[in-house]
Amino acid sequence: MTVRKNQANLTPAEKRRFVDALLELKRSGRYDTFVTTHNAFIMSDTDNGDRVGHRSPSFLPWHRRFLIQFEQALQAVNPDVALPYWDWTVDRSPTSSLWAADFLGGTGRSRDGQVSDGAFAVTAGKWPVSVRVDGRGFLRRALGSGGQQLPTRAEVDSVLAMPTYDTAPWNSASDGFRNHLEGWRGLNLHNRVHVWVGGQMATGVSPNDPVFWLHHAFIDRLWAQWQARHPGSTYLPAAGTPNVVNLNDVMRPWNDVTPADMLDHTRHYTYDTAA
């Protein structure tokens, strides 16, 4: 059974296995298909049209399925690998071990944002940024450069306290847990972390940065924590809502999985500590 661990608790061997599996997915071309898929959804999900991956109730089950698929791709390279999660309420500094050269590498240099240490630096030769929105083919970051702070645990708890999963109009204007977690409204959790990392993580091709998966694994874990706190609440809308994925509607691009199928993460993996 796959156990997703806090990245801060990984052993050096676990970090190496994870990084090596990422590099192999990149080499084989599989990695970039995930970047392409994400960008296609982020550009086509609109507040008043069809919306599946973002700014909609299915933001959480869509990314849960997307991460499972990615994790399975990693495990096809090395079955001992699981996705770690980044609890940015605790590891909230550019000096965290997450950003060390033996793991994801650090922030970008000031001149051009280029990450210049670790396995994902362009100078290491194994991480070309090919699915891109501008001419730059190297991984970039600007950790915390905007002066913004990562969300705090108190801020996370205030969002986890919201008992309603999602509300009409089921988009970036919604009240409720999903949109406050996604960050279009209120304190801003998920969106703010993308902006804090900067570089490709702030763009539509954000999965170009491997931290994308660790960020979303933590968002996924927060959904599990929300479920544990609100056993009487569930995914909404239940049925009949146009343009959005209802509880038992299938989700693109898989077309064989529904939000209902994604509600229980323990069918696919568990976390290192109880949600």
């Binding site: 960008n39 296609a40 982020i42 550009m43 086509s44 609109t46 507040d47 008043n48 049209g49 700014r55 051009d112 944002g113 891109r132 929105v133 501008d134 001419g135 730059r136 009409a168 109009p169 089921w170 988009n171 970036s172 204007a173 960050g183 279009w184 998920h190 969106n191 703010r192 993308h194 902006v195 702030a202 763009t203 539509g204 091709v205 954000s206 809502t241 146009p242 343009n243 959005v244």
Partner: protein
């Protein structure tokens, strides 16, 4: 008659070309009227929509940090029905309007801005001189 229509059409095209160099901006050469409905967008028609269509921002064309940034309502709805097109040095920047009227772009996709011009300026800062890739 047909000659006149053709010249008028050519004139409109020439104006658009001289101004913004793409057909999507041709609307700026026409008299102001109700904004074109973005295809497949369903703005203002969707029962699940926010209940109002935010006002269409005005065109702009300026130099910002050495880059030419332009924005205008687009007749064909722009990419994915945005209804407004933004360009940086002639290359289209994918932008999207949120239900609350704020804007994002593919360069700053998780941060909202009050106008397409603000989105374009933020993208210029983020690009640090590099060129946008053509939209897929």
């Amino acid at each position: 008659m047909s000659q006149l229509s053709r010249r008028r059409a050519l004139g409109a095209s020439a104006t658009a070309l001289a101004g913004l160099a793409l057909t999507g901006f041709a609307r700026t050469a026409e008299p102001s009227g109700p904004p074109a409905a973005g295809h497949g967008n369903g703005e203002a028609h969707s029962p699940e929509g926010s209940g109002h269509t935010p006002a269409q921002p005005k065109p702009f064309d300026e130099s910002f940090k050495g880059r030419r940034i332009q924005g205008a309502p687009s007749h064909h709805g722009g990419h994915h029905g945005a209804g407004y097109s933004v360009r940086i040095d002639g290359e289209e920047l994918h932008v999207m309007q949120n239900a609350d009227g704020t804007w994002i772009s593919v360069i700053n996709h998780y941060e909202t801005f009050t106008s397409p011009r603000a989105v374009a300026r933020a993208a210029v800062v983020e690009l640090q001189g590099s060129q946008l890739e053509p939209l897929l």
